[in-house]
């Protein structure tokens, strides 16, 4: 057991910015697997494993679920031992009982769901990481009502503390190295437990992103929302992954391009114009209706991108930048991917790896329109993640790299790329300003 854990130890410096890349690769493996061709038996096996692992984690709730999503959902990243540890911990809690939902309503509004709505489903329509969603109607309108699990905020800290030693052991990291990541995760999660923050984020982001064609947001109802309950209009459509599965053929290419473009523009607008973005690009957070209109849900996790991180990060995308090795190395130091104390050999490996990663990730920005349906591109990204994981030199580097800010930005970009890959969309891209 010990040996197998050790042999799977990961280097956090594997590519562009550690965690995010790996998370992204796993997202890709899950949601972008349709874009991969020539599935060998081995790939099929990997996929099966990954799906199985994801199934286990999808049942988790609260902090560990979020953490698992962030740390990645791949079997290589989270070995068997880690997985069974979670399973034993009994995080797969059953849905909230209706009496508790009713009690939460009484606490928050002094009224029963039946007094506030014309109809209200006793069973949850679907789960969320820290709550569940009920379908309700009032005056002919349909609403989605998200109710938070009780005590989530209280147990979050202890849940994370419980998971932490295990994460350290499995990943072979030192506590000091991962502390910023845990702090970041915890801060964001605590933010998510206050639905008032989500309400404010949603209203702000949907208002300032209202101009983007093909993108829509639910209307949030402040009068029927509180810190534990969030009410919004029920939007038509199916989750993005279901939609892509049902619209794979070439005859739907134009439709998929349109949705992909809307998604791309939405993220571009947020990250580069608003500098605050929806940091959870999970396919379940996007609905597509019959007309191909995209509805963006769940603004629980938003992240602001501040300077100088923003400039440092996106400067990497400048077309000429990648050929200037010294400037590139300096930029890596600014982003904490490379550390001045690194020995010469590690330094070369890190720079080389980051260089490969960055050029791959920058490619959509350099070619417009870019075709995410090109299987060789997705294969190259997956390959990058794999080689980073297998590289002996990189494995020796056991410290976490990349500033905490980059966790969310990488997660957003890789999540976005994987959604685009699943859509096999061809989209127009523009370089962000620091790179232009």
């Amino acid at each position: 057991m010990q040996d197998s854990i050790r042999s799977r130890r990961l280097s956090r410096a594997a590519s562009l910015a550690g965690t995010g890349t790996r998370v992204g690769v796993n997202y890709l493996k899950h949601y972008g697997k349709k874009a991969l061709t020539g599935k060998s038996d081995e790939t099929a096996l990997h996929e099966a494993n990954a799906t199985e692992v994801y199934g286990t984690f999808a049942k988790l709730k609260g902090g560990p679920l979020k953490l698992a999503q962030m740390l990645s959902i791949d079997k290589n990243m989270l070995p068997e031992a880690y997985r069974s540890q979670f399973a034993q911990a009994q995080y797969s809690a059953p849905p909230l009982s209706y009496p508790l939902v009713a009690r939460t309503f009484r606490r928050e509004f002094g009224k029963e769901p039946s007094e506030l709505f014309d109809t209200f489903t006793r069973e949850a329509a679907c789960g969320a990481s820290i709550g569940q969603v009920h379908k309700a109607t009032k005056d002919g309108k349909t609403y989605a009502v998200k109710v938070q699990y009780p005590g989530v905020a209280e147990s979050l800290t202890s849940d994370l503390a419980l998971v932490k030693p295990f994460a350290l052991q499995v990943l072979g990291l030192r506590e000091a190295d991962v502390a910023p990541y845990f702090a970041e995760v915890q801060e964001r999660l605590l933010e998510e437990t206050d639905y008032k923050t989500e309400l404010a984020n949603s209203q702000k982001l949907s208002k300032s992103s209202g101009e983007i064609p093909g993108v829509r947001f639910p209307t949030y109802i402040p009068e029927l929302s509180s810190s534990k309950i969030l009410t919004m209009t029920w939007e038509p459509g199916v989750p993005l992954d279901q939609f892509t599965a049902a619209h794979e053929g070439a005859e739907h290419q134009e439709l998929r391009n349109r949705i992909g473009q809307a998604l791309w523009d939405f993220y571009h607008h947020q990250i580069h114009d608003l500098r605050i973005f929806h940091a959870d690009p999970h396919p379940g957070n996007f609905l597509v209706d019959e007309d191909g209109i995209l509805t963006v849900l769940d603004f629980g996790c938003t992240k602001a991108v501040g300077d100088p991180f923003y400039s440092d990060y996106f400067k990497l995308l400048s077309p000429g930048f990648l050929s200037d090795r010294e400037a590139f190395a300096d930029a890596l130091i600014k982003l904490d991917i490379l550390q001045p104390s690194d020995p010469a050999r590690s330094r070369e490996v890190i720079i080389e790896n980051a260089h490969r990663g960055t050029s791959l990730l920058a490619r959509p920005f350099h070619q417009s329109p870019f075709d995410f349906g090109d299987p060789s591109y997705m294969e190259a990204i997956v390959e990058l993640g794999e080689s980073g994981r297998k590289d002996r030199e990189l494995k020796e580097i056991k410290t976490a790299r990349g500033s905490a800010d980059s966790i969310y930005l990488n997660r957003a970009y890789f999540g976005l790329y994987s959604l685009m890959a699943a859509l096999q969309a061809k989209v127009k891209t523009v370089l962000p300003e620091p790179a232009a």
Binding site: S97, Y98, P99, L100, A102, S114, P150, A153, E154
Partner: protein, 232 residues
């Protein structure tokens, strides 16, 4: 739940009702102010400016007085939940959950009284014999409430009747009820949110155990193995 949860039984006329309620309120006040019941009915009656006879018309002792308070606490919550619109559509599990949520909500109005009678183990203050016997009334009334809920659950197949083990179901739920009270009284989370989680999880566990499934499979295996051992 009513705003005056300790309402008297409806058979008495208004004047004696208010006397009865007034005596009970004065008793709780004394108990919480002094940390113990009044020294005697004589002293208590004098303090209330009523005759001893007036006291004994309503209660035979402080113990029965306190017992009636506990009984009403359960009865009021039971009445409130069973008359709710959705009660008839609830499963036994949901009915029990609804009761626990309503009851812990009600504790908020009487928290000091509960803390007096369910002291924390660390506080060092032991509950008096009066208190112990009085809270027996609480357990008794709860069992009366739980019986029909369990019966309905068994009739619908939600719960499994298991002979002698099944006979212990009311006792299992009573233990659960008391642990919910204890948990709530030591809960320091905001809005007692952890109590809600505790109720949810422990009730699910109790009903899972009482339902068909794991326990039967375990018993079945045990029976099989013991038979197997005997044969070899």
């Amino acid at each position: 739940m009513t705003d005056e949860p300790l309402h008297p039984t409806p058979t008495e006329n208004e004047e004696t009702m208010s006397d009865r309620a007034a005596i009970r309120t004065a008793y709780i006040d004394h108990l919480l102010d002094h940390g113990h019941p009044p020294a005697s009915v004589h002293a208590f009656a004098k303090h209330l400016n009523i005759s001893e006879r007036a006291f004994f018309e309503h209660f035979a002792s402080f113990e029965t007085l306190e017992g009636s308070i506990w009984a009403d606490l359960v009865d009021d919550v039971a009445h409130a939940v069973t008359t709710g619109d959705e009660w008839q559509h609830f499963t036994a599990r949901e009915q029990m959950l609804a009761f626990f949520y309503a009851f812990t909500e009600n504790i908020l109005d009487h928290r000091s009284f509960f803390l007096e009678r369910f002291p924390r183990p660390s506080s060092g203050s032991a509950t008096s014999r009066t208190g112990l016997r009085a809270t027996a009334k609480l357990r008794h009334r709860f069992r009366e409430f739980a019986h029909p809920v369990l019966d309905a659950g068994i009739a619908s197949g939600e719960l499994k009747q298991r002979g002698p083990i099944g006979d212990r179901y009311p006792r299992i739920l009573t233990t659960l009820f008391l642990s919910v009270i204890h948990y709530n009284l030591t809960d320091e989370s905001e809005g007692f949110a952890r109590t809600d989680a505790f109720i949810e999880k422990s009730t699910h566990l109790a009903f899972d155990l009482m339902g068909a499934g794991v326990v039967d499979s375990a018993l079945d295996l045990a029976r099989f193995l013991s038979g197997h051992l005997r044969h070899t």
